[in-house]
Symmetry: C2
Subunit: 123 residues, 2 copies
């Protein structure tokens, strides 16, 4: 594991640079795009139904949300619970594996807030 | 600042969830997409010319790389240096501000490497 950590630290040579490019590329492939992390944040407060989720996130179409939720389910971040009442209730829930993204989400949230402050102070 | 940190911590209520959604949304708006972080990683090893950059990153067209570099310049992550030799040499360099992304890059690199290991162990 130490070898991997060394490989992924701030690049000082071509090999480290390549390792970091690959690892970040993998992450972007799975959780990149405009919506996936936002859906995960919106579910972190508690399970939600499709319409609630769409309202909380804002600006996402039903078709895109539906596709993103399927991707998130396939990749093990989200669980879809169906309660066969009348009418049927479908609820989305975060899996334990989604917690592995905590550091990523915290780093992005901190950076986004810092960057917004910087832009505000410039204008 | 403590208030902001509290707001951006793991969401336990609707207000924290909204703050985190906004902050991560801001981050994705500026550094999201398939290429920007990869370009920054590729430049972290040292300044590079356009063609070198395209080769190191891999899979990016000249047109897309050119647009992404312009965006990165506008947002203060990259500096474009022109040396008026014959032929003219154009080199791209990271700014100091790009270092504010260190935590984000480290978190994504760690997560990407962990996720790849998980996928490998499953197959």
């Amino acid at each position: 594991m130490e070898v991997i950590e060394e490989m992924l630290s701030k690049p000082h040579n071509a090999q480290q640079c390549k390792a970091r490019l690959n690892a970040v590329g993998d992450a972007i492939y799975v959780i990149g795009g405009k919506w996936k992390l936002r859906i995960i944040i919106a579910l972190s407060e508690g399970n939600r139904r499709f319409n609630e989720l769409q309202r909380v996130i804002g600006g996402i179409s039903a078709r895109v949300l539906s596709n993103e939720l399927k991707d998130l389910e396939i990749n093990g971040f989200v669980k879809r619970n169906v309660y066969p009442n009348t009418p049927v209730i479908v609820e989305y829930e975060l899996t334990e594996y989604s917690q592995t993204l905590d550091h990523v989400l915290q780093a992005l949230a901190d950076w986004g807030a810092m960057h917004r402050e910087k832009i505000k102070s410039m204008s």
